[in-house]
Symmetry: C2
Subunit: 244 residues, 2 copies
DNA sequence: TAGTGGTCTAGACCACAAA
DNA sequence: TTGTGGTCTAGACCACTAA
């Protein structure tokens, strides 16, 4: 909260204030349930009009990060299971919200030339070097998900020499390579487990698997990661709310 | 567009204007790609301030119903496949967007007392009378989805005597019983097809099925319908975009 | 009663697109 | 040059919550 608004910047005021508040919530400086400063306080602290403050709070509320109560104040929202279909959420956070204790085993890690199909999705020529990281994700020590991550090596050279087992991949990418995910597109399907996948997930061959393929984009809107998620059909479900 | 804003109503102006514009788009009075009146025109036509007009247009834009281009104008958005995870979309619209020609066969229709499980989801006692409608949905004359709908009979008495084959169920519910869906909650899973389901969908037993259970709420926020959707895993996928 | 968010206004200047 | 949406301001009154 030491950030201030830069009046000479070309960035709109509301955008700067959004980043300030968003960052403070993201870093946990305000925790779920905490009350944010009132609109009046924010106008004074950042020297912007109330309309501009409200524009930012409305954005955050629409995204589900805060909620507002007339006569009471504005509060940091408790994360919900819904959010996994709206935001990029780590496996760890997702499992904690579902009431599981997450853990991870690295199955394989290495470099490989991009197959045609993945090259197309990441907008790179086939053959360009990728980092491939295959992990088994457990919930309460039982297999839940296989996660296959393909990263363009050019953007994170030497990743495999880092301690990607100890630190969440997402934090490592941000800290060392300055990569933050701004958005992602994904496709969700139902498939049946191959013999190999079944063994890893400790399910019967041909059991149902919720399969997600995702392309994640950096803050510069460059596609950097292609991800395959194989969720156990008997343990994992997605939830969301629809408007009429 | 003959609607006008009622200054004596307790409803906020922006809410009334939202309903007017939303309705006109929903009824197809403006079609995808059409330009909406400019902000200035809307302020004049409805005698509200520009900020109020913008509040409404921003809401519609956030929901993906319109898009805005500085210097050009505001336009009705083309529906996307994404929307099926955000809005309540009919099978017919969904298939057309995916480039298929939809059709329907009614498999069964009748009344039954609510099983315990469905009663819980619809907040009614077990045993209350439900309408059950089971339909096979086809895309380009090939099975795509089995749709099992359970409606509380009390809210749509005599539904089965109506011509629910000719008219979309949604329109019939609105026209005859005044029921509009305001929102819904759903759970998405991967399952394998039972022998019976496999026969209906023309797939192998144990093939993967994308299974969705949904509770839909009327404009009065009353749960009225419980829906089970069994989508063929080899033909149907969901797509969406995530924020970082 | 004091403090909070909800709604609404008039008016200004800017950036961008198209003619 | 004209018309569009984008950003921002000060100020007003209302509705709700909690003390």
């Amino acid at each position: 909260m030491t950030d201030a608004i830069n009046r000479t910047s070309k960035l709109p005021l509301y955008h700067q204030l959004y980043e300030i508040l968003r960052g403070a919530i993201g870093r946990g400086e305000w925790k779920p349930g905490d009350m944010l400063p009132s609109e009046l306080e924010l106008t004074e602290r950042y020297q912007v009009s109330r309309i501009t403050v409200r524009q930012v709070l409305d954005m955050l509320a629409k995204e589900g990060l805060i909620y507002r109560q007339r006569g009471r104040g504005t509060f940091v929202a408790h994360p919900t299971v819904d959010q996994v279909l709206q935001r990029i959420v780590s496996f760890t956070d997702d499992m904690r919200r579902r009431g599981f204790e997450p853990s991870t085993r690295v199955l394989s890690a290495g470099l490989l030339p991009a197959p045609e199909e993945i090259g197309r999705k990441l907008l790179i020529p086939a053959g360009e070097e990728l980092v491939r990281l295959q992990r088994l994700r457990l919930a309460d020590d039982e297999p839940m998900t296989i996660e296959e991550s393909y990263l363009i090596h050019r953007y994170c050279p030497g990743l495999l020499e880092r301690d990607y087992r100890a630190e969440p991949l997402r934090e490592l990418l941000e800290r060392v390579y300055g990569i933050r995910w701004s958005r992602a597109t994904q496709v969700i399907r139902a498939i049946t487990a191959s013999r190999e996948l079944a063994t890893l997930l400790a399910i019967r061959p041909n059991a149902a698997v919720l399969f997600i393929e995702r392309v994640s984009y950096s803050q510069d809107n460059v596609p950097i990661e292609f991800l395959r998620l194989y969720h156990r059909g008997d343990r994992y479900a997605l939830q969301n709310e629809l408007r009429g």
